[in-house]
């Protein structure tokens, strides 16, 4: 493999991480969803590039799935939900964004550090790919921890999923069946999310998780 393709892959993965940071930074719901779309789009590009580099046609399918579902349909659906629930132009107050960003940077450093000793026999492309995928996953988790609105938690979760997909794409010759079924299950998960958002809404008239916290069992 020649350097250029390697660099491109690197750049794409890196930009995925960057988008994750953007998501963490973005506090306005609708905007957040847009960023999510971008996130997925970058992922799709990365996967496609991997397909090209690895000359693995089935990866194109994955890329397509990602492009269609994750970057188009799901953000759109979420956008609809947000509108239906009247949450548009909702602004979350994330406590001390700066610190969160700093933690994010720390996480990226950690994931690189952890991946470092991975022996070179796994080719460098995979290596960096995995490292960045790991940081995307961690960032997604970090975002879930910092957000309290159901929708943005879902968005964070989806970005986490994207990280995993990136890793999957980096893995050569990952069987298609598995890819498909994984994608499928993610879809189901998303359906469940939708159902729940509405149920929660119907019970609690909000999707702010604070409302739920009041009803934790065993209080009385």
């Amino acid at each position: 493999m020649h350097a250029i393709s390697f660099d491109v892959a690197k750049i794409l993965a890196g930009s995925l991480v960057l988008t994750s940071f953007l998501m963490i930074y973005q506090v306005r719901l609708l905007a957040l969803l847009n960023v999510l779309g971008v996130h997925a789009f970058v992922l799709a590009l990365a996967v496609a590039w991997q397909a090209h580099v690895q000359a693995a046609p089935e990866l194109y399918i994955t890329a397509a799935i990602t492009l269609i579902f994750k970057s188009a349909l799901i953000p759109e659906a979420l956008r609809r939900i947000v509108v239906r629930l009247g949450l548009h132009r909702e602004i979350e107050n994330v406590t001390s964004l700066g610190l969160v960003m700093l933690a994010g940077v720390g996480l990226v450093a950690l994931s690189l550090e952890v991946m470092l000793p991975v022996t070179a026999q796994a080719d460098p492309l995979t290596r960096t790919d995995i490292a960045l995928a790991l940081s995307v996953v961690l960032l997604g988790l970090l975002m879930m921890v910092t957000r309290r609105n159901a929708v943005s938690q879902v968005a964070a979760f989806l970005s986490l999923e994207n990280g995993i997909d990136l890793a999957a794409a980096g893995a050569r010759g990952m069987p298609l069946v598995v890819e498909i079924s994984i994608a499928f299950s993610v879809l189901v998960a998303f359906l469940v999310i939708g159902v729940f958002l509405f149920r929660i809404r119907e019970r609690f008239d909000t999707v702010d998780m604070h409302a739920l916290d009041a009803f934790r069992g065993d209080r009385k």
């Binding site: 950690l110 550090e113 952890v114 921890v145 910092t146 998780m209 739920l212 916290d213 934790r216 065993d218």
Partner: protein
Amino acid sequence: MIATLFGILAFLVLGLIGVFRGRDANGIVYGASLGISAALGIVGLRALFGAAPATLVLPLGLPWIGAHFRLDALAGFFLLVVNLGGVGASLYGIGHGRHERDAARVLAFYPWFLATLNLVVVADDAFTFLFAWELMSVVSWALVLAHHRDPANIRAGFVYLVMASLSGLVLLLVFGLLAGANGGYAFTLMRAARPTPGIAGVAFVLALLGTGAKAGLMPLHAWLPLAHPAAPSHVSALMSGVMTKVAIYAFVRIAFDVLGDLSQWSAVVVLALGGATAGLGILHALMESDLKRLLAYSTVENVGIIFIGLGLAMAFRASGFAAGAALALTAALFHVFNHAIYKSLLFFGAGAVLSATGERDMERLGGLIHRLPQTSFAMLIGCAAIAALPPLNGFVSEWLTFQAILLRPALPQWGLKLMIPADGALLALTAALTGACFVKLFGIAFLGRPRSDAARDAHEVDRFSRAAMLGAALLCLLLGLLPGVLVDALAPVARELLGVRLAEQMALPWLSLIPIAAVRSSYNGLLVFLFIVLATSLTILAIHRFASRAIRRAPAWDCGFPDTSPITQYTGASFAQPIRRVFAASLLGARETVFMPPPGDMAPARIEKTLSDPLWEALYAPLGVWIAWLADRLNHLQFLTIRRYLAFVFVALVALLLALALWQ
């Protein structure tokens, strides 16, 4: 061996009958238990004098170990003790059980309890042993909760079960240590694998903890005075008279048989704990006014005495003085046997009083000797026996223990040099206090004038209960007259565990008891008894024959101004007051506050006594507080937000990754 297991099986079946037939199975269950216990007792007797220990392995429990059973002399002796108690309790139960409110609860678990007691004794591998051990605790827990409407009983049961499981788990550690990493759980293997002194020491301490917690050794006795009184009286008798003995069996089995040689320090520990238990136990008993609680505390005391005997045996064995060890061990086991009998008798009596008056508090009793003549007579014998008065059996075992203390081989170890005489003094003190304690019990509850209507019109109990009590009383007397029988019966045990035995006793002239040598010490209960009987009868005869026999009934003299109200009598508390002031003030923090109204004020003067259990306050109470505190702190984790929980996952992940990064 097979017979034993069949007996145990029969008990289990009997329990099922109890479950399904309920109250109308009363006669069947107790009657059958009586029969089975008798049969098992005979089995034990035969094992005691049998040549080789019978062994058996069944494909139960953990298959690669199997369930090992072994019936050697030691097991035989304790089988005898257990089933002697079983016979008495069952006989008593035939009558007493009729008064039971939820008969089914007792009838179901009673035979199972007997079964587990027997099973512990014959078990020969760690798994079977602990299985029976824990089962014994669970079943007796259910029996303690037979009268479950009283919240105090529920608490008692709770404390009991926790302590019992503690003992089980600690013993589990012991066996884990002895069995090694690849699990040689059969006792034979443990005997074969001689542990290093260090391991043996740890195992011994844990074993003392585990068995002591079940036997009621201080400071692990706290559950005993709660649990034993809570159960129905014949079950209390079994728990106090037999179950504690099974715990002592476990100690002997581990310390003398499985562990092999131990250092002299272990003996010092046992002696110290035994002495403290005996002294404090009887002091607690003296302070009690609840009949059954008093008896329970006296059980603690007797356990202490037994442990003193065992400690002496260990000390002598450790310093290579086998004959002395044999004497001490014999004394201890003799006391085991005695206590099994008279403690059962006393609990039967307490149960009789309870069913006759509905009262357990001696401050509301009195004058029962007129209403329950036979019960009172049996109780009198029991009290005299437990107070170690000649010519009854209690005296013999304490006498033997003293002889053991006086043996005093050349002890190289200064801990023993100090501890043995100290235990001698404690033993003497305990004996004296026991006398006071049981004068109090009998004098307040059975003599004097009735302090409540319930006591005034009590009625003698049914004939089965009386038979059980009088039988036990007779046994107390016979053992006192012919102690040689039991001493000889214990010889095989001593030979098995120590390699030597005491001299044959029944062959001696006049059937007297000479443990070591005639010039050293001898005692002949038979002659003492004869002399007393002769002297008494001769005197009575002479006086009635040659002087007057006339008698006139009149009001009590009481220095000229008798007060007919029974409250002018001494109560149990006031009887114990001098001793409370002398001993309990420092040891049990006993305090008296007198409220004297000012002159002119018509209010009555009051005296209030407060008593505290330093051990409980030092050990158990803080533990509870600590757990509660921890639980409250941690409980907040139940009510966090989802984000927090996510944060936990997140932190756990990051932490592990960091660890990984650092590890590489």
